[in-house]
Symmetry: none
Subunit: 417 residues, 2 copies
Amino acid sequence: MRAEILAVGTELLMGQIANTNAQYLSQRLAEIGVGVYHHTVVGDNFDRATAALQTAKDRGANVVILTGGLGPTEDDLTREAVASFVGRSLRTSDEIVEYIRSFYTYRGLEMPENNKQQAMVIEGAAVLHNPRGTAPGMYLEHDGLHLFLLPGPPTEMRPMYEEQVQTILKRLQGANEVVFASRFLRLFGIGESAMEERIADIIRTQSNPTVAPYASEGEVKIRLTASAASEQEAQALIVPIEKSIRDRIGPYIYGIDDESLEVKVGQLLRAQGQTLAAAESCTGGLIGKMITDLSGCSDFFYGSLVTYHNSVKRSVLGVEEAVLSAHGAVSAECAVQMADGARQAAGTDWAISVTGIAGPGGGTDEKPVGLVYIAVAGPDGTTVNQHRWKHGDRTQIRLRAAKTALHSLIQRLQNER
Amino acid sequence: MRAEILAVGTELLMGQIANTNAQYLSQRLAEIGVGVYHHTVVGDNFDRATAALQTAKDRGANVVILTGGLGPTEDDLTREAVASFVGRSLRTSDEIVEYIRSFYTYRGLEMPENNKQQAMVIEGAAVLHNPRGTAPGMYLEHDGLHLFLLPGPPTEMRPMYEEQVQTILKRLQGANEVVFASRFLRLFGIGESAMEERIADIIRTQSNPTVAPYASEGEVKIRLTASAASEQEAQALIVPIEKSIRDRIGPYIYGIDDESLEVKVGQLLRAQGQTLAAAESCTGGLIGKMITDLSGCSDFFYGSLVTYHNSVKRSVLGVEEAVLSAHGAVSAECAVQMADGARQAAGTDWAISVTGIAGPGGGTDEKPVGLVYIAVAGPDGTTVNQHRWKHGDRTQIRLRAAKTALHSLIQRLQNER
């Protein structure tokens, strides 16, 4: 199959938002072996949207995934553009009107009249349900071209892709009798280029599975994608290459596929029936936020004491005034007392703490931006490490600090086994 | 002028990197009044790159900015594709060979032979110097179409745009120079369609400034963009339309431009010399994370006590066992004790608390997913509100809860003035 991704939205052409949907969909389509040949962005303009569809068809696309332009405002014209392109009419779906109305009624609100526009369905199109918003998606086939209309907000688009679109695409691929299998290896503590250097020959020489590195937010992933006549055969092709990679850089691989650092922490703590708390200063709640992104984390996560101000480090965590005045809040000593204090205050088996200088202000020669202390307190004692990150902005330093804290805990938990 | 941005790189179509260059260039071009009509991404493929140039020309572009494909490897074929498209030859520039050689010599390295490819210049093109890498850019004009070839790495592309390309574009704009000014109005507590209904006539009838609504992550924004001969005139055009909009929906407008909810909270607290803490359950640290995204928030933010487990609500915040057993953790009574407890434990003027059911698990008929209580404790007492969000996943409910808590605080702080 030959796919294009067509985003509709003037805000993209004005640079107000980035086209993250195109990247997301490209990754997903690569995983199931659908080739993406073009990304296109057009504004909220009927003529340019229909022309872009014609261009895609003319250059041989048989799948076009459209994102955006399904809202209730007059700007939102993806429905109309696609209907016009395929020469079909739009009709109001009473069922969808009722669904949208219920969306408002539940909140004690009247449905604005213009929301009915979102209940317009192209004749013959299958409706893709949108449990996370009011704009339903659509799927239709026209003259050999498969068109998917997805909402623009990633929080609505991504689950719609995962829960509905991918199934349809896999069915369309069916005729080819080729099945794709993908596996992600997740690494921490090694940079993308250092990793690539160690496995450059594997990346270069492998064609089935293909080996592709991804770097994102302080982590590195390696995607292995194999194609074969069956899922089992495709999986089997991955095994020896994964082994070769593990032989080279195994110690950096902490998880596979969806096993993020926080998922791995949860797995290890649940397996050991143990509990966790955190004490955060410069990460400001990010560790708590990352862990509680996981539904059901209450099994093992008791809370995070975000003690941004020194007075709260003292009152809530019991950090000693003497430690703060002798070593400062950004010190190994303070990190240790924060972790110990959180473990005691929350009554957990484990606690992790982070204190550092995320910048851009607040750095000194002695304690520059990027200096971070991370402590792990557990049943067998408390360990602490100093990190010095010379590069990166506030967001990057905070994320790196939070991830390093989780990784430090994983290492301690794995040694406990 | 009518511009397109054409990125060349298979890594973009694989989703390995995001096309941040397109967003960056779009923002910059909007600032100088160059209209961007399309973004396109093609892979490292000669035929598709030349076809994309033809498509751009056919649909009326007179400026195409290409990014990527200027590297030293065989994959890098932007130079060749453009040369072929304009029907000109490539020649090696000895001057550029020497520059690239000096780039390597400075690092004590030999120049790899394939780097000479980067010294190939299209006949008649102006060379854009690249002090941050080995690939020079190019600018040429062909049959009324202005083509810019820029390197893919943002660290090389951005300064090349700022230092060289923008000057050329401004010169091309010549006499009919138009300056654009934009203002965002930020709203909370009203949906996109309800908002649009109230100002539909303004959106429809306005052409300068244009009025465009944006919805993102539980917030709504309105962008006003005016064009005029000077920045001052453009700003002046915005004033009366902003006033008309404020007359209709003023109470929902909490800030402008970059004044997010957390920025606004900071402004109000600093102005009053007051301090804030939070107590979070279902948001799990998100409120703390959002506030501490702001550098310098230690002026007013003391911390957030993320009490996910009931035992920590008791031990750290002093929530009474009687409240938990009579009303449960997700109750107005618990939210009030959490806010009061955080205010006391952190010793701040204000505290906000959130307790609710973010799902997908944990809901009951009586207390469904999406039920959230938010309390604000301040010098003049504690208020609490119940919210019921039927739609949205865990991430959306948590974000909405965090933003609503900040907005509730803003309302209280504004009443204090």
